[in-house]
């Protein structure tokens, strides 16, 4: 009922912008146009307030105190776990492990699988992965003697499906795939890939760092074994993220770090670990960040992820049309299925010069290799400039972006 009411409400970007205090400022004397959302999103007041509220009213350590504040803090912390469970449609809240972010979640899984893989086993990734979904697997391979296999992409920045399939063999013991590329915006057909891998009994991790603010995720429908994301790209604070893992897999996995909160009994002879998810949450966690993540999910749900996605898609379509009018501009990443990322290069102008010159016009974009150096190598560019859109961006901001690009082309002469 509520959802139906939300869905008929028109998308009010002005009202959404009012919820994000940081947007209302000038940079170099120009109104801030924040288009670096794929790096990190801005935070709505509800998230900022949740942090202030926690520190002003409930600050205490969790899971051990019997006093009121500790109980409140524990309740809020565990409520966030339930919110993440709902957001991903996981079967149980036990399947949600809080981590510092997607990177730590991937490392946690890679660390556990390093204990089960052996020499000449293979780990399959794709050529569009972020370094965070490459390096942990390389480290696993170094430890175990396993071999990293990389499924190639085409000129549009799409995964080449038959080549992906051709790389699957009896040796393949794990696969890790991004849901959406941070450098190109390409969205992978993960359901199809998961089904394919499962036909061969290969566990699969989906890196949802980029997808999570744009695409509704249902881990049960997808059937993935692991799904990871960072809160900060989803309007939550930095330093908090989550790992979803199927319960039976998490239960079999070795803990990541040792310490408090991940044990049930410790003697100097032996330690009995806690049950999942606590087995993986050693030490005092990022309690405030976790509560902030819960607040961010509430906020996103209040707007509706489908409505957000439709808005971002219209921005991407408009930006792509406008970008094509600029002769010197080449879009890097033209996948048919694409999220709200416009990566581009300008003929004769290095992305870092673009970045500085855009900043001077109040426009924040990313310039660099986007932690995806192999992607840059594939497209034979040292770096790209990248504009990435979020729920609060407007069509006028796309116009400002294009005008900014025209200005700097003129300055470069």
């Amino acid at each position: 009922m509520n959802k139906a009411v939300e869905n008929i409400r028109p998308y009010d970007v002005d009202s959404i912008r009012q919820d994000f205090p940081v947007l209302h400022q000038q940079v170099h004397g120009k109104p801030l146009v924040y288009l670096d959302n794929a790096a990190t999103s801005q935070k709505p007041k509800a998230v900022i307030d949740s942090l202030v509220h926690y520190y002003q009213n409930d600050n205490a350590n969790i899971h051990r105190g019997v006093h009121t504040l500790s109980e409140r803090a524990t309740l809020s912390y565990e409520n966030s776990r339930k919110k993440v469970q709902c957001f991903l449609n996981a079967a149980s809240e036990k399947e949600i492990v809080f981590t510092r972010g997607a990177t730590e979640a991937i490392n946690l899984v890679a660390n556990a699988y390093a204990q089960t893989l052996k020499a000449n086993d293979e780990v399959l990734i794709t050529a569009m992965e972020h370094h965070s979904n490459i390096v942990p697997w390389q480290m696993l391979c170094e430890k175990t003697g396993a071999i990293l296999k990389v499924a190639p992409i085409n000129e549009q920045g799409e995964l080449i499906l038959d080549q992906f399939e051709a790389l699957i063999s009896k040796k393949t013991k794990f696969a890790a795939i991004s849901h959406m590329s941070n450098a190109l915006g390409s969205i992978n057909p993960i359901k199809q890939l998961i089904d394919l891998l499962h036909q061969h009994d290969i566990p699969v991790l989906i890196d949802g760092a980029q997808a999570i603010p744009h695409i509704a995720v249902d881990v049960q429908a997808l059937g993935c074994d692991f799904y990871v994301f960072s809160g900060h790209k989803l309007y939550a604070p930095t330093g908090i993220g989550a790992l979803y893992g199927k319960l039976e897999l998490l239960e079999k996995m070795a803990p990541y770090q040792g310490g408090g909160d991940m044990i049930s009994v410790v003697t100097f002879d032996k330690t009995v670990y806690s049950k999942v998810p606590y087995k993986f949450e050693a030490g005092t966690p990022n309690i405030a960040g976790t509560i902030g993540l819960g607040a961010a999910l509430d906020y996103v749900n209040s707007i509706g992820l489908d409505a957000i996605a439709a808005h971002e898609d219209s921005l991407l379509v408009y930006a792509t049309e406008q970008a094509k009018r600029i002769d010197k501009l080449r879009i890097i990443g033209t996948a048919k299925q694409k999220g709200a990322i416009l990566s581009f290069v300008l003929d004769g102008i290095h992305p870092h010069d673009i970045g500085t010159m855009m900043d001077h016009q109040g426009i924040a974009i990313r310039a660099g290799h986007h932690c995806a150096m192999p992607v840059m190598d594939f497209f034979a560019v040292p770096a790209t400039a990248r504009a990435s859109f979020a729920m609060y961006n407007t069509h006028q901001e796309v116009d400002a972006l294009m005008a900014g690009i025209e200005n700097l082309i003129e300055m470069f002469g």
């Binding site: 170099h28 004769g348 102008i349 290095h350 992305p351 870092h352 010069d353 970045g355 500085t356 010159m357 001077h360 016009q361 310039a367 660099g368 290799h369 150096m373 840059m376 040292p382 770096a383 200005n407 700097l408 300055m411 470069f412 002469g413």
Partner: protein, 148 residues
């Protein structure tokens, strides 16, 4: 609109970016070394020819932004004819200028066009990458140099 950027992007910089001097592979170089800025992925290879402790030729190849390309272009021009010691002194002076320390601009000659970079912390390494590479090369390093 972008006039206030002229402190950083002076016309000389655009000129050196469009037409970098000494932009070539030196087949008979006495020494060569790669420089790399892992933060942005910029790379260059620096070549020099020495005669009796003097740099008699310098060139570079690579890919970088306007600031790093202009800096490499200006550097390879200015160090030609200098002794190794003079080039190293100039590196120290350039580094001071790029990081905002007080220096006598006259001592820097043409390199002074890059003085604006100190106002852009994210871009300082663009200007200093060629110089760090030169410094390592003069010190006899063979492994690629990084700015990190």
């Amino acid at each position: 609109m972008l006039d206030d950027l002229r402190d950083l992007y002076q016309e000389v910089i655009f000129d050196h970016n469009r037409n970098p001097r000494n932009f070539r592979v030196m087949e008979d170089a006495d020494r060569q070394i790669d420089g790399f800025n892992p933060l942005c992925g910029d790379r260059l290879t620096l070549f020099i020819k020495l005669d009796d402790g003097k740099i008699i030729d310098a060139s570079f190849q690579g890919q970088g932004c306007a600031i790093s390309t202009a800096s490499a272009s200006l550097m390879t021009d200015i160090i030609k004819g200098q002794s190794e010691q003079e080039a190293q002194q100039l590196f120290a002076l350039f580094h001071k200028m790029a990081t905002g320390e007080q220096v006598e601009m006259d001592d820097l000659g043409k390199l002074a066009v890059l003085a604006g970079v100190c106002e852009y912390p994210a871009r300082v390494k663009c200007a200093t990458l060629p110089w760090h590479t030169l410094d390592a090369l003069l010190k006899g390093a063979e492994e690629p140099v990084t700015t990190e």
